[in-house]
Amino acid sequence: MKPFRFRATVNGRPVDLPVDPRRRLLDVLREDLGLTGTKEGCGEGECGACTVLLDGRPVNACLVLAPEAAGCDITTIEGVAVEGRLHPIQEAFLEAGAVQCGYCTPGMILAAKALLDKDPRPTDQAIKTAVSGNLCRCTGYVKIVKAVRLAAARLAREEGAV
């Protein structure tokens, strides 16, 4: 199988590498780019642990063939903190106790980020919908919803301050 030239923007940086087109975006991120923050929980679209943002929208990287993401702007969990400073969503997850084992956390944070980027003042229902494609087996979700609410409030305040 001839390799496919995979060019995309990953966490703001251009990447250009040959990939076997039968590999999933998840494999290219984890293995070729060493971005192991994106997790595999099921490999079939059910758990959301592999969530990344493709052009700002959350998708399951285990269902995307790598070449299908060529030309896209890809955000993984490694691209959420800016210059070593945690994003308010990450801070809120820590403070609200929304992280337990942490395996769902990267996907949850990206799902939450996609929501808040679009809808800075979400209702609880909107938050629940936004994370409804992400399974968490530890927390029971209550603290995750709380964290997203907290992050939204913080972001709104930051906005207000500018």
Binding site: M1, V59, N60, L63, V64, S132, G133
Partner: protein
């Protein structure tokens, strides 16, 4: 890693159709991949070629045109759920169905074309499209055919599409303002749940507040979506009321019973469809709950 196949990414529909017509061996079309990629991973499918539609931007459009609504096959569930025309009024059932598919990630990837060609008995867009009396436009190199969805779907996981054909578009006739639609799905939980039963309802009001026409399409109770014809006939020409609702609900339950026979799920679905039907009809026309005009 998935089983071996050659990957193609045509830049136009014409090129895609050419590839499909000329490539030797078995081929599969890739749209959002939400059904295809898991099937490849499980080894259920091992095509020689995978032809990606990702570059065919023209198939991502939704248009209103000469009394028809046309939806490109690559339109995603998320796009359907956000499209202004589908947010209220008669076409709301499409957005409601799209919004109940999988979770946000699956809705961002999965397409209407994939949902149709995958032809799962639980495919959530199929009942609304059946109620909308949709047609599909299927292209092949040097030609195309347009056929009703009802004839296109031939069984669970089966359609009459040929391997060298692409489903390009779905369309359905525009509905009058006095029509209203709804979609209700019963799954085992609220998200990431496959439909156990679903019902898409369209109610068109006529003069004097009567039901001029009702179209009711049931999902997940037969190999393909079925219309609840008995209930549709019984509603025609009558005024919605709680009493009429119960008649219709009973008729819908009968249709489900006839369809399922003595399958193990029949007792459950016969009963459960009543709740689904009540909710869908009331959402389509609140007078089913309250009477009045």
């Amino acid at each position: 890693m998935l089983p071996p196949f050659d990957y193609h990414r045509p830049a136009s529909l014409a090129e895609a159709l050419f590839l499909l017509a000329s490539l030797p061996g078995t081929k599969k079309i890739l749209a959002g991949g939400t059904d295809l990629v898991p099937a490849l991973r499980r080894g259920d499918l091992s095509p020689d070629h995978v032809v990606s539609l990702s570059q065919l931007a023209g198939m991502r459009e939704i248009k209103e045109d000469k009394g028809f609504i046309r939806i490109g096959a690559l339109v995603t569930f998320s796009r359907l759920a956000e499209f202004p025309l589908f947010l209220k009024g008669p076409y709301k059932l499409l957005a409601e169905a799209a919004l109940q598919v999988g979770g946000p990630q699956v809705r961002n990837q999965g397409t209407i074309g994939g949902n149709i060609v995958n032809a799962s008995p639980a495919g959530d867009l199929l009942p609304p499209l059946t109620a909308l009396e949709a047609r599909v436009r299927v292209c092949r190199q040097g030609g195309e055919r347009v056929l009703p969805l009802a004839g296109f779907l031939t069984g669970p996981g089966r359609t009459c599409i040929h391997p060298e054909e692409i489903l390009a578009e779905v369309d359905f006739p525009a509905l009058p303002e006095r029509a209203a639609g709804s979609f209700v799905k019963l799954g085992r939980r609220n998200s990431l749940a496959i439909s156990r039963i679903s019902l898409a309802a369209i109610v068109i009001r006529g003069e004097g507040g009567i039901v001029e026409e009702a179209r009711l399409a049931l999902g997940a109770v037969a190999p393909v979506p079925i219309r609840a014809r008995k209930a549709e006939a019984l509603l025609r020409g009558r005024k919605p009321s709680p009493a009429l609702l119960e008649e219709a609900v009973a008729a819908i339950s009968e249709t489900v019973a006839d369809s399922l026979g003595d399958r193990p799920s029949a007792p459950y679905k016969r009963a459960a469809v009543r709740g689904v039907a009540r909710e869908a009809l009331i959402k389509a026309d609140p007078r089913f709950a309250s009477g009045g005009c």
